[in-house]
């Protein structure tokens, strides 16, 4: 019987549920499982809470042959819990011998319509792979991730068609021990919806949420004393 290759999904969204990162990474992991991989998932915001969970996450990393990090971009780079996890992985691999050389790839998404806002996140992932002694298999960058709103990609078929094609191409490449194909990078970087529509929906969304919290008309408040000295 052929040994099944092991894939690990690291979900980097700090959200408690329904994240776009988990939807993207979950789709890719499921495609790999369909191709014969075994698959496991680690939610990083939980994994970095205490030593026991960190050790558990490190063991999963040590067993994996393909590692997928799916995460959002926060303030131009990786969210703090993701950085904490990556720091722990590098520290462990620098001080322990006998670990393999898995392929590591990242799928980053951001709330701005342009995918270029993920560039630092993906550059940091590439550096991480090198420092952890892993093979950098490339990165996929999605702009306007909020449009998917954490829904499974199958339920967003029309909207997510390029995303699905990009992840399908990536799964095929990983199965062949190849890196993320350029075609997949380009498909993932395509806008999900026209920019004007994304901004229009986004603006309406903020106002709708404000009405729910009773803060309509107050979203521009300045709670801290302004640097000009005026209290606003």
């Amino acid at each position: 019987m052929m040994r099944r290759k092991k894939a690990l999904l690291l979900v980097g969204s700090p959200k408690s549920s329904g994240s776009t990162s988990e939807a993207l990474g979950g789709y890719l992991l499921n495609r790999l499982i369909e191709m014969g991989f075994s698959g496991t998932k680690s939610i990083l915001r939980r994994a970095v809470r205490d030593r026991k969970r960190i050790d558990c996450m490190l063991a999963s990393v040590n067993n994996a042959e393909v590692i997928i990090l799916a995460c959002p971009t926060y303030v131009d780079s990786l969210p703090a819990p993701v950085l904490r996890a990556l720091e722990e992985i590098v520290a462990f691999r620098r001080t322990h011998e006998g670990h393999g050389q898995p392929r590591f790839l990242a799928v980053a998404n951001c709330g701005f319509p342009e995918s270029l806002h993920n560039m630092v996140s993906l550059a940091c992932c590439r550096r991480f792979a090198g420092e952890a002694g892993m093979i950098w298999a490339g990165g996929l960058s999605l702009g306007g991730g909020e449009a998917l709103n954490g829904a499974s990609l199958q339920n967003r078929k029309g909207l997510a068609r390029n995303v699905i094609r990009a992840l399908d191409l990536t799964a095929t490449a990983l199965e062949r021990n190849e890196s993320v194909p350029e075609g997949a990078e380009k498909l993932m970087a395509r806008p999900l919806v026209p920019r004007w529509l994304y901004l229009w929906i986004g603006t309406r969304g903020w106002k709708a949420q404000a009405r729910r919290f009773g803060t309509a008309g107050r979203l521009g408040e300045r709670p801290w004393r302004d640097r000009s000295g005026e209290t606003t």
Partner: protein
């Protein structure tokens, strides 16, 4: 002039401590007040991306912990320093946990800057940004990532000026001092 230093280095990192000491001396010599936040020892929960600071309590993070001290200090400063060991080209997790909690300083609404979408400012004025990255050894690739990150942060936080400084571990005091003095001089001119 007020400076806020968000320190993302680990306790016991002697070289970072030395660099911070030099920075504070240079600031003092230029008559800049400085306040330092050592983030590793502060109780700061990671941002959960709930956008409560935009829609629930506009401008204020909904988590009531040490992280709430950062936004008012940063917006009241003339210069904010992001200080950390260069980590995968970017900031350390300890610095980032503080930074992720600052998004209430900007508005949820959008604007276009140089053809890119960004969030609108919430306040009339923002501090200049200085990113200081301590590198284990000089490394061009990680230095470029770090500089890009500081530049992107400055763009998103509507900073009037920014600078990225890379300090290799072991660099002599005189060179570090000169670097800080040159950057402060430059940023002061852009205020």
């Amino acid at each position: 002039m007020k400076t806020i230093i968000l320190n993302g280095s680990k306790p016991g990192d002697d070289f970072s401590e030395k660099v911070l000491g030099i920075l504070c001396s240079v600031l003092q010599a230029n008559r800049w007040e400085s306040t330092r936040f050592d983030l590793a020892g502060m109780k700061i929960a990671p941002c959960r991306g709930c956008f409560g600071c935009w829609v629930q309590k506009p401008g204020v993070c909904v988590f009531e912990d040490d992280g709430q001290k950062l936004a008012p200090a940063v917006i009241a400063s003339d210069l904010t320093v992001f200080f950390a060991p260069v980590t995968f080209g970017g900031y350390s997790a300890d610095l980032k946990k503080g930074l992720d909690r600052l998004i209430g300083l900007i508005s949820p609404f959008f604007m276009t800057i140089a053809g890119e979408i960004h969030h609108r400012p919430r306040y009339d004025k923002y501090p200049a940004l200085m990113g200081v990255g301590v590198q284990e050894k000089p490394d061009r690739d990680s230095g470029e990532i770090f500089s890009t990150l500081v530049q992107r942060n400055a763009l998103n936080f509507h900073s009037p000026g920014h600078a990225a400084l890379l300090i290799p571990v072991g660099q002599d005091e005189k060179s570090i001092c000169e670097k800080f003095a040159a950057v402060l001089n430059d940023l002061e001119g852009k205020k």
